[in-house]
Symmetry: D5
C-alpha cells in the first residue's frame, strides 16, 4: 500500500552541533535500513529545501506511523502523508 | 532528472459526456505511451480525489513542459511541479 | 484501517432539480449500504455546511478510493482523506 | 452532542525532558478517564504527525471547553473544534 | 449555548432577478422570526461585504444545523460556525 | 458603532509564571471595567482555544485602538478587527 | 474616521458589453461625486490588477457600508475593509 | 526599474475557439513588440502551467500598469506584480 | 510614484526594554523626517494591531527599498509593498 | 536550464553580530563567484523585504540543489524554486 510522504526538517538553531550530527547519522542509517527492506521505496530531495518527498510501501496506516514516528529527526520534522491508490492508467 | 508532478482534474460539468470520454481515452493512451518510454516513471491516484501524483524522469524543464502541455486533459487540469534532486540518504 | 474523510458537496446550481434529487437518493442508499457493511463506520453533518466528516474502516487505500469514487455525488464533491492510526492513549 | 476535535502538539524543545514525561503521563490518564466516562468517544493518531483527531460527546459547548482546557498538554497544543450534527443518511 | 456564525452570500449572477427577490424576502422573514424567538440573538452586516456575523443561542448542534440549513439563501451561502463558551472575564 | 474583535493569546512559555499571573489579573480587571462601561459589550471564549470573540461598541476607530492597545495582554495577542454595520434584517 | 478599502472587480465574462459599459460609467460618476465630497479621499489602481486601494473618511461604519454597497459594481466586486486609527508617529 | 510579474491565464472554456486563437495571436505580437523595445526584458513559461514569469524594465508604476492592462489576454489573466531593487551582491 | 506599504512589527519579547525604547524613538524620528520631506505621505495604525499602512511617494523602487531597509525597526518587521498607479476615476 | 528562485532570509536575532557579518560576507563572495560563472544569472532585492528573486541557469536539478544548499546563509533561509521553460512568445 503506497503513501507519498513529505518531510520538512526544522532543527532549532540552538541545538548543539554534535547532537545534530549524531541525530543525522542515526537518521541516515534508519532510512537506509528501511530502504533496503523495501518499505521506504524512494527518497528525493526537494530542490533548494531541507525537505524530502518519499514513497512508502507498507501494510497499514499503523505500520507507516510506527516507521515515521521512529525517525531520529521526527521531533524536528513537519510531516504530511498522502495515501495513494492504483491509477487506472498505470501500466504497473 | 526527476520531478514530482501533482495533477488535479477539473472538467466543467457542462462539457458533453461523449467529448469527455474521448478526451479521457486519448489521455490514457498518451500517458501509457510515456510510461512505456520511461519518461513517466510512475502515476498514483490520490485517494478520494480526481487527482494524481506522478514521477517524471526527463532531460530538461523544456521537455517536461512539452510532455505536460501535450496532455489531452491539460486545459482542464491544475498542475504543480516540484523539482527533485538526489537525496544523500538514498541507496539508489 | 481507519480513515477520516471530509466531503464538501458543491452541486452546480444549473443542474436540473430532478437529476439532483435522483443522485441524492442513490447517494443515500449507497451510503447506508456501506454503513451496514461496517466499512463506513460513521457519518456526521458539519453544522451549517453542506459537508460531512466520516470514518471509514477498510482493508487498503485502494478499497477506500473505490468506495469514494463510486459515490453518486463524487463528481460534485471535494474530498479530503486523512489516514489514522492507533493512538497510544486510546482505550479501544 | 458530537464534536470533532483536532489537536496538534507543539512542545518547546527546551522544556526539560522529565517535565515533558510527567505532563504526558498526566495527559494519558486524563484522556483515558474521559474515554471511560464516554465523553471522549474516540481518539486517533494522525499518521506521521504529533496530532490526533478525537470525537467528543458532551452536553454543551461549555462542558467541551472545560474538558479541553483541562488537558495537561493544553498550553502546548493548537486545537480546532468542529461542531457536528446528525447526518440524514446516518443509520445510527 | 452560543455560536458565532459567519454567512457569505454568493448568488449566481444568472439567477432571475424575480427569483432572487422572492428568496431574499423569505430570508428576511425567516431571520426575523428566529430573532423574535431569541434563537438568533444578533445579526450584523460585515462592512463592505455581502456577508453577516450572527450570534445564535440554541439547545444543541442539531438545532443550529436545522435552523441554518432551513435558510432560504442556504444553497447560495458559505457558512462557518464557531462554538462559543462562557469567558471567565465576562460579567454576564 | 459595532466591531467584532477576535483575540488569540500567545504567551511565551519562558515568561515567569508570577508575571503571567499578574498580567492576567490586570487583564481581567481591565476587561470587566470596560464591560461595565458598555464599551465592551460581550466576550466569548472560542471553544478549545486560548482565544475570544468580543463585541465592542465605540465612538470611533481611534477609541477602539486605544482600548485594545491598552490591554495588559496586548503584547502577547494576535488581534483581528472586523467593522460591523446595521443589518437590514435585524429587528434591533 | 479613516478606512482602507481594497476592491477587486470580477465581472462575469458573459455579461453583455453594453451593460458592462453602462455600469462602469455609473461607477465612475458615483466615485467622483464621493471624491468631490471628501468622503472618498483617494483611489489608486493596483498595478497589473483590475483592483483598487481606496481611502475613505466617514462618520461611521454604517455610512461606509452604505457608500460601498451603493457602488454600481458592488455585485461584481470582492471588497475588504481595514479600519485605521491615528498613528503616534504621524505628523498630521 | 525592474518588476517581476507572474501571469496566470484562465480562459473560460465556453469562449469560441476562433476568438481565443485571435486573442492569442494579438497577445504574441503585443508581447514581442514590447520585448523588442526592451520594456519586457524576459518571459519564461512556468513548467506545467498556463502561466509565465516575466521581467519588466519600465520608467514608472503607471507605465507598467498601462503595458499590462493593454495585454489582449488581460481580461482572462490573474496578474501579480513584485517591485524589485538593486541587490547589494549583484555584479551587474 | 505611489506605493502602499504594510508593516507588521514583531519585536522578540526577550529584547531588553531599554533597547526597544531606543529603537522606537529612532524609528519615530526617522519616520517624521521622511514625512516632512513628502516621501512618506501618510501613516495609519491598523486598529488593534502593532502594524501600519503607509503611502510612499518616491522616484524609484530602489529609493523605496533604501528608505524601508533604513528603518530602525526593519530587522523586526514584516513588510509588504504594493505598487500603485493612477486610477482612471481619480479626480486628482 | 532556467529556474526562478525566491530566497527569504530569517536570521535568528540572538545569533552573535560578528557571526552574522562573517556569514554575510561569505554569502556575498559565494554569490558573486556564481554570478561570474554564469550559473547565477541575476539577483534582485524584493522591495521592502530581506529577500531576493534570482534566476539560475544550470545543467540539472542536482546542480541547482548543490549550489543552493552550499549558500552560507542556507540554514537561515526559506527557499522556493520554480522550474522555467522556453516561452513560445519569447524572442530570445
Amino acid at each position: 500500500m503506497m503513501f507519498l510522504v513529505r518531510m520538512d526538517v526544522r532543527i532549532p538553531h540552538d541545538l548543539p552541533a554534535t547532537d545534530v550530527d549524531a541525530i543525522k547519522l542515526r537518521e541516515k542509517n534508519y532510512s537506509q535500513d528501511l530502504q533496503r527492506s523495501g518499505k521506504w521505496q524512494a527518497i528525493y530531495r526537494v530542490v533548494g529545501e531541507y525537505a524530502n518527498y518519499s514513497l512508502f510501501d507498507v501494510e497499514s496506516n499503523d505500520e507507516l506511523h510506527t516507521l515515521l514516528s521512529g525517525l531520529p529527526l521526527f521531533p524536528y520534522m513537519e510531516i504530511h502523508v498522502t495515501p495513494l491508490a492504483q491509477h487506472p492508467s498505470s501500466i504497473r
